[in-house]
Symmetry: C3
Subunit: 109 residues, 3 copies
């Protein structure tokens, strides 16, 4: 048994929790502010048997890997909005920081 602590972006967290739940991993979501990644991240705790660690990591990787995304930039405040043509820009989104912690014992009551 291990405790997986995964810090992921908010926008990826629900998809990840659903994907983990679909494979019978139970997760606890901690409210997180600031952190390892850019603003707006979520910390998940996942209790996991040793033989399922690789599966859990695969699911985290599939749902949260850092990737590029085209986004429409916010128009500049106080600028000349008429002549401003927003051009989509590439940004890095996603990313996961994952700690796997040993557990001395585990109980359910």
């Amino acid at each position: 048994m291990k405790l997986i602590i995964a810090v992921v972006q908010d926008k990826d967290s629900n998809r990840l929790i659903n994907a983990l739940s679909h494979e019978n991993f139970q997760t606890t979501k901690l409210a997180t502010t600031g952190g390892f990644l850019k603003e707006g991240n979520t910390t998940l705790m996942i209790g996991c048997q040793d033989e399922h660690i690789d599966d859990a990591l695969k699911i985290i990787k599939e749902n949260c890997s850092q990737r590029e995304q085209m986004v429409a930039p916010i128009s500049p405040m106080g600028g000349n909005a008429d002549s401003y043509i927003p051009k989509p820009v590439k940004v890095e989104v996603g990313g996961a920081t994952v700690f796997i912690l040993p557990i001395e014992s585990f109980y359910r009551f």
Copy 2:
């Protein structure tokens, strides 16, 4: 020294924190959403000397074990409220998921 991480139901958390505090266990309560148990749970971190682990587990078990409770069901929305006689139903409440983590070192400043 160990770090106990306990995920319990919100409704049991204050009673548990009081019971732990009464026995001189210091707890930190993390805001939690969703998780190992049904919606509405709380994660507690409890720093604990090795020889007191059994005491802490006993207190968690006494205050948070899964148990049955009779609850009045919510009357159906849009149904015929006049003819609706609510019959109490048995539901499972409580429950605790407890991880005991080894600590390499511990400091107070």
Copy 3:
């Protein structure tokens, strides 16, 4: 690699996060209520290579140690406000509870 879990007072947390960040430590801030210290504390998770543990502890100690502070007391409710001369009182502020946890493995995706 270790996972440092530090419970500090809210009022010290931003200064600590900035000081850690300045030395390239990445922290995740968990919303915390109640706990090891007086009301209003914050839990930080800091992933840390073994050889940098002492640096991280030094920064935590410098920014969060328990110390005395003179504060103006709140004037008594319903008392005779005219004749009330607030006298600053010494209070203990700050303090940090720090757990260093071993990590079995660590990933970034």
